[in-house]
């Protein structure tokens, strides 16, 4: 009996020590990358994503790096974009993404955004949706705490403090909730994509015979605004729109 218990304990601790196959693959992939065996690294990272169905921003980032090293820039950009989606505040990812974007053919001048939208996005991208969700819970609770102070306090100065600070905290929590929602939309929508065909003519209408409006090349990021069968209506960073076959794209 004692022996059996001992066996169980050792088995249990062995399971604790053993990494999951996915973690194991990540470690092996990083080793391969260090040895400049990028093809092997790509294979292993892909296994984590496709077979184990597990992900983390680091996995996408490292996979993007491996693709960058074998000069497959569209795939590198795709994976960097996926990494920023999970970890929007990571500067390494943004840095490598901007380098990869310099390597591709299209350099589209984006339409400048209004300053307050830029500011809002700048603040929003400091954290992912769960960070904002937790911050919201903290601020929201604090606001109610101050409201309780207002109800319970004997002196009028304390009542005033409770009232105004709870009012301020409510406004703040609403703002944080907006950030969380905005990030939630960004993170859960799959309406952005990377062009994978070497050169694609963007049509004026969703038919093969449509007038070619402009040409975009592999690695360019587009926003999907509509869908019709195999055709997707896309918008590029400078605001130009048109139709493209969904097989030319890979969604982020």
């Amino acid at each position: 009996m004692k022996k059996q218990i001992l066996l169980l304990i050792t088995l249990f601790s062995a399971f604790q020590l053993l990494a999951t196959p996915a973690q194991d693959n990540v470690i092996k992939a990083s080793e391969a990358y260090k040895k400049n065996d990028f093809a092997q690294a790509i294979l292993l990272y892909q296994q984590v994503l496709e077979e184990s169905k597990e992900h983390a921003p680091e996995v996408y980032f490292n996979l993007g790096n491996a693709y960058y090293k074998v000069t497959d820039y569209p795939n590198a950009i795709l994976n960097y974009e996926r990494a920023t989606k999970l970890a929007p505040a990571d500067e390494d990812i943004l840095f490598n993404l901007s380098l990869a974007n310099q390597k591709i053919e299209d350099h589209i001048e984006p339409v400048p955004e209004l300053f307050y939208i830029r500011w809002f996005k700048g603040i929003r991208n400091l954290g992912d949706q769960d960070v904002w969700a937790i911050l919201f819970l903290v601020v929201f609770s604090a606001a109610f705490g101050m409201l309780m102070l207002y109800f319970q306090a004997n002196s009028s100065s304390k009542k005033r403090l409770g009232f105004y600070s709870s009012l301020g905290l409510f406004v703040f929590s609403a703002f944080v909730l907006t950030l969380a929602f905005s990030m939630h939309l960004k993170q859960s929508n799959h309406n952005e994509a990377i062009v994978f065909s070497g050169s694609v003519s963007v049509k004026s209408s969703p038919v093969e015979a449509g007038t070619g409006l402009f040409v975009i090349h592999a690695g360019t990021k587009v926003k999907i605004t509509d869908e019709l069968g195999d055709w997707l209506r896309i918008r590029i960073a400078d605001g130009n729109e048109g139709w493209i076959l969904s097989s030319d794209l890979e969604r982020i």
């Binding site: 990494a19 999951t20 996915a22 973690q23 990540v26 470690i27 990083s30 990358y33 984590v48 994503l49 184990s52 169905k53 597990e54 992900h55 983390a56 921003p57 680091e58 996995v59 980032f61 490292n62 790096n65 491996a66 960058y68 090293k69 390494d92 840095f95 490598n96 380098l99 990869a100 992912d128 949706q129 769960d130 904002w132 969700a133 937790i134 919201f136 819970l137 929201f140 609770s141 606001a143 109610f144 705490g145 409201l147 309780m148 109800f151 319970q152 969380a180 990030m183 939630h184 993170q187 859960s188």
Partner: protein
Amino acid sequence: MKRILFIIAFVQVAFLAGAQEIKFSGVSSHSKVAVGEQFRITYSINSNASGFQSPDLRDFNVLSGPNQSSSVQIMNGAFAQTLSYYYILSAKKEGKYTIDPAVITIGNGRIQSNSIIVEVGKSSQKSNPAATSANPNPTQTQASTNTSDRIFIRAIVNKSSVFLGESVSVTYKLYSKYNQINFSDLKFPTFNGFYTEEIEMGKNDKLEVEEYNGSNWYTAELKRSLLFPQKSGRLEIPALEATCLVREKTQSGQNFFDQMFGGGYRDVSVKIKSQPHNLEVLAHPNNGKPADFNGAVGAFKVEASVDKDNIKSGDAITYKVEVSGNGNLKLLEAPKLDFPVEFEAYDPQLKDNIRASESGTNGTRTFEYLLIPRAGGKYKLGPFTYSFFSTSKKAYQTITLPSIDISVAKTVGDQVVTNRSGTGSSPKQLASDIKFIKLQTPDLKPIDSEPFFLSIPFYSLSALPPLALILLLVVRSRNADRSSNKSLYRQKEAGGMAQKRLKHAGELLKTNNKDSFYEEIFRALYGYLGDKLQIPQAQLSKEFVAEKLLIKSVPSADIKELERLLSTCEFARFAPGAELNMSKVYDDTRALITSMEKYLKA
């Protein structure tokens, strides 16, 4: 050609031998020519002469000339010499042209030839180039059909398949059964897709005899080139075209002279062309291609050296890379070398010592990098690598140039400059590369895992603060209820309470404890009224109570009685000496409370 002139000269000598008079004459091969047609004009003199002055030939294209030939003939003891100058011309435009006389100097005198009249007609499409050959003999104008079998050009290519940048030599060689050939037009081909290097040929104009396809031919090399393909795929080595004049023997002599000198000849213009060749050019393999490979193909030795290794900052040194061997030396690009950033590096200078031969270009190409160190210290130049594609091994080869140590002494001026420039310099950005991968073990989550935001735990947690507030408010209001119940209870019990106090006062009356008695009476009254009317202790005053009682419609007699009793109690408490009927006060109080109870019950 000489022979023709010889014949002409001989004919002239034969007829004019006796006269021995000096004659300078010009003659055209054709009196009528078509535009573009070639013809020949010849000026002959039967004496030793010099200083030939060319006539004005502006109206014609001079294809060749003036060419000079001379012949000497001794016959029957007589000495005859003929000197002739000839041009091959073609007419530019239609019309009738008179070519002015040519002038020649004999001894001290000058002598003029006759002028030549040439009529130029429309160019005839039908005219066979071979038939319109420049032929001084008007009787021989037809070319034989088998001329092209007796003369041709071969393009000899030494390889049929090469790598990009590998040399291939091509030789254009003339094979002929005729031993006298005059080229009137030689079109050298342009090699598209190749870098071309001419191979110098010996100045040997003589025809050599070579056996080819079972018979002997006169051969001459026309052109020898070394080609370096610049793009992969199938490239064409173009043909060489030439038009030449050959002398053909006629089958039967027609006149005395022909028979006498071994039969008749005629000159025939022949167009000949070599066969174009196709060359298969292979691209360099992609696998194993070194990063620094920039198109060097062949077999090379590479060495690096510096002229000085101990210098002062600001002095220049030369870093020399010498590539020697066989290959596309002339196409070698300077290797891109990363010198230490403290060194100002200038674009390298090229020095060549290259010879082209059929096996390729041999020699050395030297790249000289001028470097000026801007700061003192010890530096290493290199190690650098140089890669090339070896055609013999069909693989890339990389040569490592060992590093060279350079020590640079600081100069005073150098320091002044750096001091003046101010606060030092930030590290120089050498190159940009992506950030390295993240090595920490990631926190892997299933791809389809839901975020915390908008999940059930999130909703429950955000519901907590409002719930807490509600709870607080509920507790508060229940507390408030309980306190209001207390006052109701006290209101109900007020009568009983008053009776209790009065009972106590009765006991005090028996013991004649005055102070305590009045105090108890006072308390019984105020306590009763306070509880009944729900007035807090602090607000109890005679006037306020009276007011309240009036509202409750207590008769004014009772109110007056109350006021009297309260005054009595106060008086008794603050003036202890006064004699008052304690039992009357006791009875009156009992009566008053009983009376008021009726009104205040509701």
